[in-house]
Amino acid sequence: MGAAGAETAERGLPGGNGYVGRALKRKEDPRLITGRATYVDDLVLPGTLYAAIVRSPEAHARIASIDVSAAAAREGIEAVFTGEDMDDLAAPCPMVWVPPGVEVHVPDHWPLARGKVGYVGQAVAVVLGSDKYAVVDAAEEVLVDYEPLPVVVDPEAALRDGAPIIHEQFGTNQVFEWELAGGDVDAAFAEADVVMERRVVNHRTAGAAIEPRGALAEWREDHLTLWSSTQIPHVARVILSIELGIPEERIRVVAPEVGGGFGSKLQVYGEETLTAWCARKTGRPVKWTATRSDDMLTTHHGRDQIDYVRIAATREGELKAIDVRVIQDCGSYHLIEGPVIPTFTSCVVSGVYDFDAVRTTIVGVFTNKVTTDAIRGAGRPEATHLIEVCIDQLADELGIDRLELRRRNFIRDFPNERPHGFVYDSGDYDGTLDKCLELLDLDGFRREQEQLRSDPDRPVYRGVGFSTYVEICGLGPSRALGPDGWGMQGGYFESAQVRVLPTGGVMVYTGTSPHGQGLETSMAQIVADRLGLAPDAVEVIHGDTNTGPFGKDTYGSRSLSVGGEAVARAAEKVQDKAKRIVAHKLEAAPEDIEVAEGVFRVKGSPEQSMTLAEVATEAYIPADLPEGLEAGLDEISFYDPDNFVWPFGAHACVVEVDAETGRVEIVRWIAVDDCGPAINPKLIDGQVHGGAVHAIGQALYERIHYDEAGQLVTGTFVDYGLPTAAEVPSFETARTETRSPTNTLGVKGVGEAATIAASPAIVNAVIDALRPLGVRYIDMPLTSERVWNAIQEAKR
């Protein structure tokens, strides 16, 4: 797709008082630690109707009839609606990826099923009433007559001739086939000394934010307000407008406190549309809150790729080409992005290595499961997993040390255009690996490993695994991602408005929509330095479409590198205007004004200064402004980056495997990440810890599993095993700081980096531990039984 070359946008560091870079405590926390924050289910409106949704117990069936009479007759039930009642919707759920020249099959996907169901949990009817317990009882009395159809859950089986076709109109279960390639892949394989091949399964997982989804809709005077547990209020407003046929200006979407997203709330779900529709239909506020079972069944899942990996190399370990064929299980319908997610695998499928040729072919497949879409990392964890596991596999085949093979192939010149058209902006892969090894003490570990293994009475199997990763984030250049590029039907700028109030305090409106990332703090730090005040005097407002300019919300580790940059730029516009006012008042030239020590002052004459509050007085009582300057001190910036950002790092994981039971225990974790200069190091560490545990969960415990009949086996937190504190280690973290030339802050995203990095380190560590027993490869999740089986098979 040819992202533009990274244009260096250095404009010199703005003056300030040094808040950027400091590990400040979060401004968000007081309300959260005292129980005073307001999540969507905490909101109460008078006259609210509660919604309970009737869901399909069938994975694939025609709906012969629905009888709502018994439910509707129950005391306290206001209304029961089915898909037929919703025939006034203007459009089904839009899917926003329309890649030029590629056919993508997009079935109509409605909030309530019309005629048939394609997965267990699909919404079929809604019951509304004033008591939230009574609607649940009534929902059990909605009688739906299903005519079951053949079910297909295995994506490879779904592609075979004779498989049940889920959407007859397409005549196939294939959703799309898409390819991104660069360099002469076929020639490289033809000439290669060695070709390593591996089938890598990256299984389906859940985002599992601890706050289940929920929505509260109010219809008043032809205006809709929707409070939703969402990452994307701005996008949601556009989509609700399209679906409901309500002019966008009459819709307000608010993301109140949001209890985690991890991509699972980067979505506009049928329930949000349904809740809004019900509010309009009944004229009453309508609230829907997911149970965890609802959430596991219907909140989109992630991953679910089968990756056929081929790597061509010389015997000396020079990597020549990588060719990956991805089978992506899309589920039975699409939500807003679904099929595009695996294409992000292609961006970093060649990792930190200097391959001459790269090809990724992706085949999307319909199955009778819920939709897959973005979950933390969204396509890139799959890429890192396959390349980093396969590098170890290749090292074993070549008899070259795993780290040596990596070092021989690291990309070292930046910016670096890769064969498939991407330009890695900056990097220092040796630097993060060096620091990681320093913390690890590899020689010491190898001695310990050998000693523990050789205990004749009770051999202990420890292993170390590495992941040297690069990821792509900071979505993104609109030119690259948009309709004529990747094919996303939207722009990927970010907006910010910085408003100085008449008394000198500052409101910042960001188009991002944070839900745990701490942007109220980090953005305040950015603004504080530029305007000469303390972060305490900066309020960051987000998540409400009726405030601030149109924004593009929070996902893809974009909030700081795109949203933060927009904030910085808006703050600098304010600073520029303030400097003109100060220069005018102090009779100096604007370019001689600096922001330092909390004031605007004349360079060289620090006694000549004004505070921001004094500047604000001049701006809002505009009696003596410079000629031609408008009143007010309030600026907007729309920032559209000209490249992505490319965070990188090195993770090392030490595991101990109980060879008798197969249990894997993580003993140590060292994470060295580079996301550019820190705005707030505390927040970076937090993202790394949480991101790594997300991947540890996938690698060891978490698995979405459907049985042959399409029933979800892991539908509660009893079965779906999120790691608890007792399963994970403390982390040893360090950073290097390599500036990104893409933005003036020099920053790269870090919200997904550790999730993208971590899983191959665990798999590689377990294989390292079990190498003496002959184990060569294991797919995730590394359940104790799977590891034990691998040991038994190796013995044979």
Partner: protein
């Protein structure tokens, strides 16, 4: 998720509780800590029409030593028992049940009356050859552990009866170990093994008991292991050889994380580990 509607009573004596239960008919159930029953009710896998809450019934939350036994009131919480060394395997196993919040509410009587083969306490009771006291319309009776667990979630406590007390022998001089293998710390046991060992004066195995968690539709005694060790040496070799028979006569249910074959293997490994630890005292 919420339970179906039901009626509720919280009588302040056992007699009234029994009468209320009897009046409530077949779908009436006693309620102790509720940590087995309420989750099922919320998932609507159980829908009793009447709950008779025992919380106001006096005298059911106690731990007393009498002769060679511990008498534990049915409403005694796991948290009251967890980690108490004098209670032997009961103290060890209760500390491993779920998590602290669950242990703060869950009761020994509730757990035993529920009869989940994946629970820890039924196995411990079986190994210790304990018994429970139940009261019903027909009076009081004692049910030994061997008779208590009849099938999956089915115990010999009849409808209309209330389990009031648990009695376990103190087993002084015995070593004990409960080995629980689970995916995560808070999970149910994939397999659990309770081993009790009494060494003779010469160090040999005077007596031994082994019981298994989640290896069938009820907790099971590993009798072949016991027979193989009883009266013989307690060295590592003997223990290892005996433990190989741990899965004899079991019929473990498979699930996503553990096939029957793997559970059988775990039973053997954990039995060896539990026996070794119990043999150490």
């Amino acid at each position: 998720m919420i339970p179906s509607a039901f009626d509720y009573a919280a009588p302040d004596s056992l007699d009234v509780a029994l009468q209320t239960l009897a009046d409530g008919g077949e779908e009436a159930k006693p309620l102790a800590g509720g940590h087995s029953l309420l989750p099922l009710m919320k998932l609507r896998l159980a829908a009793p029409t009447l709950l008779v809450d025992l919380r106001r019934v006096p005298g059911l939350r106690s731990v007393e030593r009498e002769d060679g036994s511990w008498r534990i009131g049915a409403l005694t919480r796991h948290a009251d028992l967890q980690g108490r060394r004098e209670l032997g395997a009961v103290g060890e196993a209760t500390a491993l049940i779920a998590d602290q919040q669950v242990r703060n509410r869950g009761t020994i009587g509730g757990s035993l009356a529920h009869g989940d083969p994946a629970s820890d306490l039924p196995t411990v009771l079986l190994a210790m050859e304990g018994a429970v006291t139940v009261r019903g319309g027909a009076g009081t009776r004692e049910i030994t552990a061997a008779d208590l667990f009849q099938d999956y979630l089915t115990t010999a406590v009849a409808p209309g009866e209330i389990l009031t007390e648990v009695r376990v022998p103190a087993l002084e001089g015995w070593g004990h170990a409960y080995e629980k293998f689970s995916r995560r710390a808070e999970d149910w046991a994939m397999v659990g093994v309770c081993a009790l060992v009494q060494r003779g004066e010469d160090g040999s195995c005077a007596d031994v008991r082994v019981a298994l968690t989640n290896m069938g539709s009820t907790p099971l005694r590993a009798l072949a292991v016991e027979e193989s060790l009883r009266g013989g040496p307690l060295d590592d070799g003997a223990i290892a050889a005996a433990a190989e028979q741990a899965d004899e006569g079991t019929d473990p249910p498979g699930d996503l994380n553990a096939s029957p074959q793997y559970k059988r293997h775990l039973a053997r490994v954990l039995t060896r580990r539990a026996l070794r630890r119990a043999a150490e005292g």
